[in-house]
Structures are given as structure tokens and as C-alpha cells.
Amino acid sequence: MTRTGGWLLVAGALALPLWLPSPYHLHVAIMAGIFGVLAMSLNLLLGYTGQLSLGHAAFFGIGAYTSALLTLKLDWSFWPALAAAVAVAGAAGFVIGRLALKLRGAYFVLVTISFAGVISLVSVNWIELTNGPLGLPGVPAPELGPWSLRTKTAYYYLVLAAVGLSYLVCRRLVRSRIGRALVALRENEPLAESVGVDVTHYLVLAAVVSAAMAGLGGSLYAHYTRFVSPEVFLFTYTVTMVIMVVAGGKGTLAGPLVGAVLFTALPEALRAAASWQWQMLAYGVLLVLLVFFLPRGIVPRLGVALRRPEPVTPTARR
């Protein structure tokens, strides 16, 4: 993407609330932003280290619950709760990373799924803390100094800032030594190791940043919907993130954002035409079609079409 194009996009995103016709459209934009953060977070692992985490909803849910519990039970205000959500999710990412990144491929996937399963069952069964399946209503809206960020417009800018921050973190990480090490690991682990890349160190680092970012998304989600229940751990959320990343283009910076916008807007647009089940059915079929016809995603494909390919390294085949 060219520099001017990037700034135009930023300007467009900043001006978006001015020309969106209704609060409903703004709501869709906010959800797209939250999912943008989540998709970027998953992309760090799936796109850059090649490890698929199918337990990503766990980090999202941990962030949401941490933030909700701290504001509800301990009367923390939004900002420290947000920071705590990021920190707790990151810590969970560290533990899972240390344990699971000894494994690769399908085995890593299974450990992440199982972790999410256990956490989800805890959220259902630890009723004294989490209120069980009934969930936690009344999560407070965030405040910034004297202003409440209760309105959709204000929340849109909050989410936009989080998207911008996450994007910058990803870009900084990916274009640094660390990012090169991660790609080297993805492409050829023994070779990378032989030239001195510390495998576990870099993979765990990626897992921590990725989980922390998912926690950020979770906290934003909790304070936006003002309600947290065990549903935040639904496998559907993870699947949605995976589809966004795969469709947008894994291993690219812009891909997850493109995927997030597309796959938040598309179901909303289809809502009138089709029920939720049809949408989910379509998601499944779409995932299959994507793997067959657009295996590298929209952004790399666009890059080829515009003859200015974003630097994409070939996907690893193992």
C-alpha cells in the first residue's frame, strides 16, 4: 500500500462517523474495529509463525472477563481495567506459549482448543466469581477524564485508536529483527535454528503479544456491549477470526483488517436476507471455497493485481 493511500485510509476512518447514516452503521464499524484487533492478533501467530491457535477466543474472553470483573467487583475505572485485561491475557499467552509451543501443527491446535475449553467451563461453573451462564450485566461505559465515552461516536474513536495502536505494534514487530526471525522459523525451522534463532523465545514472544492484543479486543468488547457471559468463549468467535485472517491474507499487515471489515459488514448486510444459521452455514462453505480458490487471501491477490505486491513471503508447506 502506498504511503498516500495509507494516509487517505486513516483520514477516511477518522471522518467515517460524519457520513455514516445511522447509529446502526456506526455499531457495525465499531464491531469491525474490535474484530480488526482480534484478527491482527491471530495473524501474528497464524500468519507470521505459522501456528494456528484455535483457542484464541480464550484470550478474548479472558480480557473481557478481567475488565468486567475489575470494574464491577473492585470498582476500578476503565483504563486500569483495560491495562489489566491486556496484562492478564498476555500472561495467559505466556503460560500457553511456554507449554504448547513445544508442539507444532495439529498438536498445537489441540492444546489451544483444550485450553479454551477448560477456561470456558470454568466461566460457566465458577458461579461465585463469574455468575455462571447468566453472565455479568452492567459493565460500565468507559470515561476519559470528565467525559463519558458512552456514545457510539466516542466509542468508535476509542476502538479506532486501539486498531491504530495494534496495527503499529504489529508493523513494528514484523519489520524488526523479531519479525524476520518469526518468518524464518515459519519457513524453515531447522535452518533458522542453525543460524542462531532462539525458537522458543521468539514463538513465546509472539504468543504473548498476540494474546495481549486479543485481551485488548476483549476488554473493548466488554465495555461496549456492557455485558459479559460465557458466550465470549464460543468457538464461533475463533472461527470468525480465522476466516478473517485467511480471507484477508495471512502474513500480511493489512490482510486481517480487510478481512475484519469484510466479514463484519457482509453478515450484517445479509442479515435481512438470511437467518443467522444460514450465515454460519455460508461461513463454513466460504472457508472451504477460500482454501480452494484464494488460498493466500485478498490482500496478496490485490497486490498482484495492482502490480505493487506487498512483501509477502511464500507460505510454508509442511
Binding site: G50, L52, L99, A100, K102, L103, G105, A106, Y107, V109, L110, V111, I113, S114, F115, G117, V118, L121, V124, N125, F235, V239, V242, V246, S275, Q277, W278, M280, L281, Y283, G284, V285, L286, L287, V288, V291, F292, P295, A316, R317, R318
Partner: protein, 290 residues
């Protein structure tokens, strides 16, 4: 003591069907190198097909079971031929994504077709339990246990004694050499996937009348099948059988003595612990088939 025996017996019934699920998955995983996240959906399919045959078409219980197995195997065969065959040389992640997509589509097709309300499958067995000394077992559960054991034995015979089974074992050991010896890899893969899916459907049709049938039942079934496979070791048929029994018993004991809310957590914990400490499974020196 009587309580413990009762838990063990219940665990055995549950474990027999888990073993069926696990055997199907371990064959697909071990032989085709496909991480089949749709496996549980074939289990759900079996339950729904048997429900449709029994409650709607009014067929015999045993006929319904047979129809469910055939339906599962047919759809599995179709999946392999249409989706997995073109991707045979792709990475394991690619086929995994495709099977996740298939699983989501199947589950939501069921949701659309049957609605979200749980259904119960009628069965012809008397509900009064048979009392055997200190323990009691419902005739239906006894039947499920016996039939699961029969199906496991049949699967074992197929792999050990038939020509198809020999070709499957050869393909597992070395695909290229097997192909050079005249084994049609495409045919073996299709047969394996159909066979595994048929077993999963059988497990669904068997457990369906004991529990309720609902569209998202496949999610947990997939994960339980994976715990069984991981417990037993990849491609290890006796391992999957023992793993299934072990998981069933562990769940019953956990639900009975610890907390029933955490029953399903046991499978997850098993996956995590075994993968971390003994990744080749509890029973195997190395990965093998049959």
C-alpha cells in the same frame, strides 16, 4: 464400593462409543494425515439420521442404525473425493481448514433442518434396569456396549485380515512404496475416510438414544475423539480402544466424585497433559497402525 462399580460400568458404556469415535479419527489422522475437525459432525449426523429413520420413517431400531452408518460412510466418501483428494499434496493446515469449514457447514445445516431444540430418539428396549449384583444397567446401555464392542472387533478384523486392511496398513507405513506396489492410494484414502466417518456415525446413532440429540453435539464429540486419539497414540487402533474406555471411565469418575459441571473438562485436561508429557500416547513406543 457399589457406587464405584456402577461408575465403572457407566464409564465402560460411554467409553465403548468414545472408542468407536476415536478409532475412526485415528485411522483418518494416521493414514491420511488429515486433522479432521468435522469428525464430530459425522457423529451428530449419525444421531440425526437414526432419529429421522426411527421417529419419522418409523423404521426398526437396527435398520435405523444401519442407515446411519451407511449415510455417514457415504458422506465421508463424498468429502474425501470432492474436497480432500484435490488437496492431497497440500499442507496439513490446509486440509484442517477445509475440514473446519465442512464441520461448520454440517452443523449449521443440521440446525437449519432440525432446529435448535434437542430431540430424543425413541428405542424399543424396556426402561427397567437389569440388576446384576451390586450394579444396575439399562438394557439399552448394555446393548450399546455390546454393539460397540462388536463394531470395534469388526474394525480390527477389517484392518488385520482383509486385503483392504493390508493395503491400509501398507499406506500408513509408507505411502509411496505402497503406491509402487500397486496400492491405489486414492481408493485407500476414500475407503479410510468413509470407514472412519461410518464408525463416527455409528457412535452417534448408539449414544443418541441415551443422551439427547442436538446440532452442536458434534463439537464436543470432535474434541473427545481427539483426546482418545492422543491418549492412544496416532494411528494406534488398540490404543484408541483403550483410550476411549479410559476417557469414558475418567469422565464418569470425575463427574461422580469431583463435579459434574467439569465432566467435559476431563477430555481437555487429558489432551493437554498427554501432549505435554507423553506426546506419542500412553500405549505406544512409536506411531503405528493396528
Amino acid at each position: 464400593m457399589a457406587e464405584l462399580l456402577q461408575h465403572l460400568l457407566n464409564g465402560l458404556v460411554l467409553g465403548g462409543t468414545y472408542a468407536l469415535l476415536g478409532i475412526g479419527l485415528t485411522l483418518i489422522f494416521g493414514l491420511m494425515n488429515v486433522v479432521n475437525f468435522a469428525h464430530g459432525e459425522f457423529y451428530a449426523l449419525g444421531a440425526y439420521v437414526s432419529f429421522a429413520a426411527l421417529a419419522l420413517a418409523g423404521s426398526d431400531f437396527f435398520v435405523a442404525l444401519l442407515v446411519a452408518i451407511v449415510a455417514g460412510a457415504a458422506l465421508g466418501w463424498l468429502c474425501e473425493v470432492a474436497l480432500l483428494r484435490p488437496l492431497r499434496n497440500e499442507s496439513i493446515d490446509t486440509t484442517m481448514l477445509v475440514m473446519i469449514g465442512v464441520g461448520i457447514a454440517m452443523q449449521n445445516a443440521e440446525l437449519l433442518g432440525w432446529g435448535g431444540v434437542a430431540k430424543s430418539i425413541p428405542h424399543p428396549f424396556p426402561t427397567a434396569p437389569l440388576v446384576l449384583g451390586p450394579v444396575a444397567i439399562a438394557p439399552l446401555r448394555l446393548f450399546v456396549l455390546v454393539l460397540a464392542a462388536g463394531l470395534i472387533a469388526a474394525a480390527w478384523l477389517l484392518i488385520q485380515k482383509t486385503k483392504l486392511g493390508r493395503a491400509m496398513r501398507a499406506t500408513f507405513q509408507d505411502r509411496d512404496t505402497a503406491a509402487l506396489m500397486g496400492v491405489s492410494i486414492g481408493r485407500i484414502h476414500a475407503a479410510t475416510f468413509a470407514f472412519g466417518s461410518g464408525l463416527a456415525a455409528a457412535a452417534g446413532a448408539l449414544l443418541g438414544p441415551i443422551f439427547l440429540v442436538y446440532p452442536s453435539m458434534g463439537d464436543l464429540a470432535s474434541l473427545k475423539a481427539f483426546s482418545v486419539v492422543i491418549l492412544g497414540g496416532l494411528g494406534n487402533l488398540p490404543g484408541a480402544t483403550l483410550g476411549g474406555l479410559l476417557l469414558g471411565i475418567a469422565e464418569e469418575l470425575g463427574a461422580g466424585y469431583i463435579s459434574s459441571g467439569y465432566r467435559d473438562a476431563i477430555g481437555f485436561v487429558i489432551i493437554i497433559l498427554v501432549l505435554l508429557f507423553r506426546p506419542s500416547g500412553l500405549f505406544a513406543r512409536q506411531e503405528r497402525i493396528a
